[in-house]
């Protein structure tokens, strides 16, 4: 007959074995992260066009594995594994974007060649009232709109949050040279002091973009409340 103590030890050992055999939650997220990174690594275009982002995903996965091996809390391991998965998805998205961008560049060159070979046809098309070829072919990305009423200023100086926002928009413009930014401002201000302040704020925002190397032609100003006529007038006064 088995003594009660021996039976208890047997039960504890059995429970331990069952516990080791079950898959902890963090291991599931680690497996998912591993699969995501493997999928990204297996795509030639990701390796070729998003190598840096793929490296980040691999480093994140290694960090998650190390944490799991060190028996870090499950939530911590799951968080690190999630980061690795997202980095892998990010690498794939960057690669897709770069493929599409390369295709846009190729198409633009093909269109340019086509136009160079057939100048007479294009002239005929223009004479027939069609828009000029450059406008026909160059399909721009949507412009960014920056509404001044949503930004905080101290007098005409941007606060920290506004500066960050301007940097974000500048980053987007730098990353997309074909894109433009439109500054929306309320010109329908009866008080001349308030109007002057608004114009100073516009100049501040424009200067912030110019300092980041954004070409002035990519920055425009429009009224978000005033009649169109006044907006054009203000824009012409502010334009370089």
């Amino acid at each position: 007959m088995i003594r009660p103590v021996a039976g208890l030890i047997g039960l504890v050992l059995a429970a331990t074995v069952v516990g080791c055999g079950s898959v902890p939650a963090e291991h599931v997220s680690l497996d998912q992260a591993h699969a995501a990174v493997e999928r990204a690594r297996g795509a030639p275009r990701v390796r070729a066009l998003a190598a840096a982002e793929l490296d980040h995903a691999e480093v994140a996965l290694e960090r998650a594995r190390t944490a799991a091996e060190a028996r870090a809390p499950a939530s911590h391991v799951a968080h690190l594994a999630y980061a690795a998965s997202r980095q892998a998805t990010l690498a794939e998205a960057h690669a897709a974007d770069r493929v599409a961008q390369a295709e846009v560049d190729l198409l633009q060159r093909a269109l340019d060649r086509l136009l160079a070979r057939a100048p007479e046809d294009i002239r005929e098309n223009r004479a027939a009232g069609e828009p000029p070829p450059a406008a026909t072919f160059n399909v721009p990305l949507p412009d960014l709109t920056l509404d001044l009423s949503e930004l905080s200023f101290e007098d005409a100086d941007p606060g920290g949050e506004t500066t960050t926002r301007l940097d974000q928009v500048a980053d987007l413009l730098i990353g997309r040279p074909a894109r433009k930014v439109s500054i929306a401002a309320d010109f329908d201000l009866p008080d001349p002091v308030a109007r002057t302040l608004m114009e100073r704020r516009i100049e501040t925002v424009r200067a912030a973009f110019l300092r980041r190397g954004i070409d002035p032609s990519r920055i425009s100003v429009h009224a978000d409340a005033a009649p169109e006529g006044r907006a054009v007038t203000s824009f012409e006064r502010l334009a370089p």
Binding site: A100, L114, T136, L141
Partner: protein, 129 residues
């Protein structure tokens, strides 16, 4: 007889001490202001990149995580809030780049259609000449 301090039993005092310790543990993690601000900025960027049009599910996931982080702060679960805010930032970053990729792909599609249209227009005999 159990020791008493001004009418409180030792057991009750122990409970109070444990509760205070638990509260101190919650308060030990600082409010993750930076992580929350980073998540909000990342969401702004994703929205500006057109994520609502191109990858609404991904954007919604990021927004839900940010809201969960804010709820965790209200519940004083600061460490949970930090993790959720960081995940919201990651999700928003993915949404932003996927939206950019979708927009660029749409631009390529429009350009390809224009190119084919112009090829047809400029092809010999296309205009009856």
């Amino acid at each position: 007889m159990k020791p008493q301090i001004e009418g409180c039993s030792a057991g009750r005092l122990t409970m109070v001490a444990l509760a205070l310790l638990a509260l101190a543990g919650c308060a030990a993690a600082p409010v993750p202001h930076d992580a929350l601000a980073a998540a909000e900025l990342a969401l702004d960027r994703a929205e500006m990149a057109g994520a609502a049009d191109h990858v609404p599910d991904e954007l919604a996931r990021a927004q839900a995580k940010l809201e969960a982080a804010q709820a965790a702060i209200r519940a004083r679960a600061h460490e949970d809030a930090r993790l959720l805010a960081e995940q919201a930032t990651m999700d928003a970053r993915v949404a932003e780049v996927e939206a950019q990729a979708a927009q660029t792909a749409a631009t390529a599609d429009r350009m390809r259609a224009r190119l084919e249209q112009q090829h047809r227009r400029l092809a010999p005999g296309a205009d009856g000449r």
